[in-house]
Subunit: 317 residues, 2 copies
């Protein structure tokens, strides 16, 4: 197994590129693919201030590292979700990464700053924890970016993530969700621009990138996500990718090329006009935004242990 | 486990309907679902002559039986594909079904009538056998319907089939294929109308229908299809259906409801104008149609055994 570029011994094969790479040229591949995604979709201009959403996992730390390597000005934001030891370890990985490199990591703690955590929110709302988690992260990243004067929020969604979300949306043909599934969401109406510079890299590649760069990341998957549908979609696509390498890439980029343009108009018409949350000022489809409603509902609720807030299957009637 | 309708002991559970059924009410469910598909999509008018494409498998024999039960005037057409013992057994099942019920079964034999068979065509063209097989069946069913004065060709594609084809087309976002994926293709330009009355029934249900109706069908899967991508798509969807019953139904019918209308125009513009095959008179995008070209290419080729014409994976370069 030899590197496609230099013919020295390779450390990784990338089947969808039908090629193997040595240490040095694999890192270059990751940088090139990230730079290409940024350029192709006009994600970030030179001189813009970037806030990267840091979970402490492989994707977000690889992203932060890659953006710094590519010469961007990037701070991190970590949100403490209160998911027991998993959150403690994730936060520590994010902190260590930042302090080792002299980078700025902002921290918001759900419990300390907003009076609740994800397990408690899941128990109170009786919904899957991923719902309260995603909602809180979106809200707090948007707010931090606007308050901190950042031009753009970057998230570590990789090709596997985006293909799985696309699959889930296609399974239900949720046209308005499909139409919003782009590697860039432009700024507007109280939202910062949001970009996903890792869409050209697979999960296995961001993990290998971290290993080769000596980045210590949180290896565990979130204990509350176990059994969620998103993971099922990933598994289904993994099997297809195994038989036909490149399937995920074609699925995601073929969608952007060929289907997305056909559904933009229809989806735009379906989009609700946004007002402003009377409590926090964030864009909201209702009088009070979903985050403030969640904060209100969980006020005074006793903290529950992680196990009680875990992903549940809806019982069959 | 009790029947949803009469509370007598049930013989089958249908998870996506969240219900169990006894012998009698399961057969009624199958008839009702078939009648609903025919009505919802205006597939067949009373008094029209129907030609059903009969393979000898569970779907096509269930379809023929159901259409007769629903009072339609239906003849069958069986095409001998020359796939060794598999074809012999399939043909025998189709013949037995027809003669037991005094129905008319027309027979075309690829080797006898057109000088080749599927294994030989696969070997000569060096393509997967499903390619020559599908092309020959489409061509010969169209021709037989027009020559025999039938108004409509009915095929046994079930919900699993249609969902898997949709998944394959969505994985590549082949918009022109997606746009043609409907339970009815109207007649026109030398083609008869084509309908799929079993789209509301799953594979497991057509099999159970045959068992309960005492229909002997070819149980084996085609030996040449083993390992093809379509089966991989079915497997992937089966796993998702297991976790979330009804997913396949929502995937297929959600597509018809919400996506198909958005892509019709774009796809129609991409459709090539059809001429007439100079050899057989069938509609064709070229001077000679694909079937006549296949017949020409295989002329004089020595018959190959089934094993040599088997599905091949394209070797990786």
């Amino acid at each position: 197994m030899k590197c496609r570029v230099c013919r020295e011994p390779a450390v990784i094969d990338v089947r969808r590129h039908n090629a193997n790479f040595c240490h040095e040229h694999f890192l270059r591949l990751c940088r090139d693919q990230t730079a290409k995604a940024i350029a192709d979709f006009s994600m970030i201009e030179r001189g813009e201030r970037v806030l990267v959403a840091v979970s402490g996992g492989k994707d977000s730390l690889a992203l932060w590292d890659l953006l710094i390597e590519l010469g961007y000005e990037v701070d991190g934001l970590y949100i403490g979700l209160g998911i027991g030891g998993y959150s403690d370890d994730s936060g520590a990985a994010a902190q260590a990464f930042a302090s080792d490199r002299g980078l700025t990591l902002r921290v918001v703690d759900l419990r300390r700053d907003h009076g609740f955590d994800v397990p408690t929110a899941a128990a109170v709302t009786r919904r899957v924890p991923c719902s309260a988690c995603g909602l809180s992260k979106r809200h707090l990243f948007d707010r931090a970016a606007l308050e901190g004067g950042y031009d753009v929020v970057a998230t570590g969604h990789n090709l596997d993530d985006e293909a799985a979300v696309l699959f889930g949306n296609a399974l239900r043909w949720q046209v308005e969700y499909l139409a919003r599934q782009a590697p860039v969401l432009p700024a507007g109406a109280g939202f910062p621009r949001k970009v996903k510079p890792l869409v050209r890299l697979a999960e296995r590649e961001t993990a290998a990138y971290c290993v080769l760069r000596g980045i210590d990341y949180q290896v565990e998957e979130c204990p509350m996500a176990a059994g969620n549908k998103h993971l099922g979609y990933k598994e289904a696509l993994n099997r297809i990718e195994e038989t036909s390498p490149g399937s995920k890439h074609d699925f995601y980029f073929g969608f952007l090329d060929r289907l997305a343009p056909l559904i933009q108009t229809a989806a735009a018409e379906a989009r609700p006009d946004l007002a402003v949350c009377s409590s926090c000022g964030a864009p909201s489809s209702g009088e009070v935004c979903a985050f403030c409603r969640l904060q209100e509902r969980t006020e005074g609720a006793e903290a529950v242990p992680v196990s009680l807030g875990r992903a549940r299957k809806r019982p069959r009637p």
